[in-house]
């Protein structure tokens, strides 16, 4: 019996840990090393319609308890990436989720369909990119645009569609509800948090893009709250993400309402084996508590 197995929107994961998007997710070989490290599923780097070079360096800067990145979604574009998806599908024995971004509903739909056709088991929509570049506001911030994007993608493909939400909104739970009603099969919560670093000596923003997104332990309490709030509002499975570094963090996200969790920044120090370390810790915890399946603890902190 596998205490840790979960069924996530139809995908079977041998354990609830997943690689977060943007972390080593370019190539089959690195995805393989993550799977060997123990991940129950992997999400690729976000892929768009056209190739993108991303921003100039510095693209990553370390701060207390986390890091800020503004890599700028570098990716080879979906045409080039389909061969990587095909190869990954053959090489990996865990679900492969392709992260997709776009600047319009059509782009999301086109890229998602190509990813699915190439073998992706699901897509994760990264809706944190500006829909009108001039205003800089994001697709995931507008209930209407988000709804259109999700519906459009659902129209063109049968496989599960995950939607990755950003915390940088007034009404996170409304947004989660709209995503769910529009057909999202799971919600990934949360992406990085808007942040920035300035150097005192040079009086300059450090990142070439000036603004970036905060990840790592600093955002864990923010992510937990987001998962907790959304769990009270929607029935759609939640994938917790943000600052998870050890089994205890992972368990806290499950108790808050996540059915699975994603890990990004923690790989910087603990390497790909962070997945098996966390999985082992979770298993010991479940045994100690006499719990037969990890599913039983999902949302447990909401009981009264």
């Amino acid at each position: 019996m596998n205490r840790l197995g979960v069924n996530l929107a139809g995908l079977n994961l041998s354990n609830p840990t997943m690689l977060a998007s943007g972390i080593l997710g370019y190539s089959v070989e690195t995805l393989e090393s993550i799977v060997e490290g123990g991940a129950g599923a992997v999400v690729t780097k976000s892929i768009g319609l056209e190739p993108r070079d991303g921003y100039a360096n510095p693209t990553v800067v370390q701060v207390s308890c986390g890091l800020i990145n503004a890599i700028g979604l570098p990716n080879p574009g979906i045409e080039e990436f389909t061969s990587e998806i095909r190869a990954a599908k053959t090489a990996l024995n865990v679900p492969l989720i392709v992260s997709v971004y776009g600047f319009s509903e059509e782009e999301y739909a086109t890229v998602s369909k190509k990813a699915a056709d190439a073998g992706a088991d699901a897509v994760e929509l990264n809706v944190s990119c500006p829909h009108v570049k001039e205003t800089g506001s994001e697709i995931g911030q507008s209930l209407e645009i988000l709804s259109k994007v999700v519906r459009k993608v659902k129209e063109v493909m049968e496989k599960p569609v995950f939607v990755k939400l950003s915390h940088n909104v007034t009404n996170l739970t409304d947004i989660a509800e709209v995503a769910a009603k529009s057909g999202a099969d799971a919600l990934t919560v949360i992406n990085t948090v808007k942040a920035m670093a300035i150097d005192a000596e040079t009086a300059m923003p450090i990142l070439s893009n000036k603004r970036g997104g905060l990840s790592g332990p600093a955002i864990k309490p923010i992510a937990i709250r987001s998962v907790y709030d959304i769990y009270e509002r929607v029935k759609t499975p939640i994938i917790g993400c943000g600052g998870i570094a050890n089994w205890r963090d992972a368990v806290e996200f499950l108790l808050a309402g996540a059915s699975a969790i994603q890990i990004g920044t923690a790989i910087a120090l603990r390497g790909p084996n962070v997945f098996s370390a966390i999985t082992r810790g979770m298993e010991t915890y479940l045994k100690r508590k006499g719990v037969k399946s990890v599913k039983e603890i999902v949302g447990l902190s909401h009981r009264r």
């Binding site: 370390q62 574009g77 920044t265």
Partner: protein, 274 residues
């Protein structure tokens, strides 16, 4: 306190202490940085040229008082901007990053090309007094670009330094790999260390394989995070910034489809090495 020690690699800013001209295209920059002054040969740092770029550079030397030097070749926008900087101007530092050369003490062969000589010189300083033999082959396009030749000659016995230039303006007129073929037929070595242009590394690798000599080569790839997260620097399953930049012959065999052949572009696509 925290599960992450990544903050240990927080960017810090520091003034340039000295700038020395090594060749028409290479300058050495020295500054104080405690963390990097504890680096080992082969490790690199990320140097922020404020408002311009952040680039990976091998550590050339360290002093006990915290001084650290890097040798930088002018090749493009960032290195040009850095070359125009003077003492007292402020740069940012993250690191040290990556692994380092193992320090063997037997019969050692070092093969360096261009600024790839920097980490090897650092290594040679550490091991020179302890090795049974130390032969240093260095190559450059022309005499003026032969880096640190006097320092290397001071470290090794003069007869053990073999310089090559493509135009024959100093030493032998050939590529650095040329003298190796004969040398490896005649002498025995316990270890080859090499750093420089990847085509050179590949040549050295092939020769070492042929003569069954263990090898360590330091590679370059596009670096962004430098902490093993972003995937910009991958070769095969390895992250050059974390699992490298120094790779053993065993590892290079694993990635022979890419080593000397392909690298990743800014957008993550595999492209041929120029």
């Amino acid at each position: 306190m925290s599960d992450y020690h990544i903050a240990a690699n927080k960017l810090r800013t520091t003034p340039i202490l000295t700038v020395e001209t090594e060749s028409p295209t290479v300058k050495t920059f020295t500054f104080k940085d405690k963390e990097c002054s504890r680096a080992k040969p082969g490790q690199f740092l990320m140097l922020w040229i404020p408002g311009v770029d952040e680039i990976p550079l091998s550590i050339l030397s360290t002093q006990e008082d915290g001084r650290v030097s890097v040798a930088v070749k002018e090749v493009g926008e960032a290195t040009q901007a850095l070359h125009s900087m003077k003492a007292a101007e402020i740069i940012g530092i993250r690191g040290p990053f990556g692994n380092s050369f193992t320090e063997k003490h037997g019969r050692i062969l070092m093969v360096g090309g261009g600024t790839g000589i920097a980490p090897l010189l650092f290594l040679a300083k550490k091991v020179a007094s302890k090795t049974r033999k130390l032969v240093f082959v260095i190559g450059a396009k022309t005499r003026k670009e032969l880096l640190f030749i006097d320092k290397i000659e001071a470290l090794c016995s003069k007869s053990s330094v073999i310089a090559t230039t493509e135009d024959g303006s100093y030493g032998i007129r050939c590529l650095a790999t040329m003298p190796l073929e004969k040398m490896l037929d005649e002498e025995k070595f316990d270890m080859v260390y090499t750093c420089g242009p990847e085509h050179m590394l590949q040549k050295v690798f092939d020769l070492a394989e042929k003569h069954r000599i263990p090898l360590e080569a330091s590679l370059e790839r596009l670096m962004r995070c430098a902490i093993g997260l972003c995937g910009s620097c991958i070769i095969g399953r390895y992250r050059v910034c974390r699992d490298g930049p120094v790779f053993t012959a065993n590892q290079l065999r694993e990635v022979k489809g890419e080593f000397g052949i392909a690298k990743r572009d800014f957008n993550g696509r595999k492209i041929p090495l120029e």
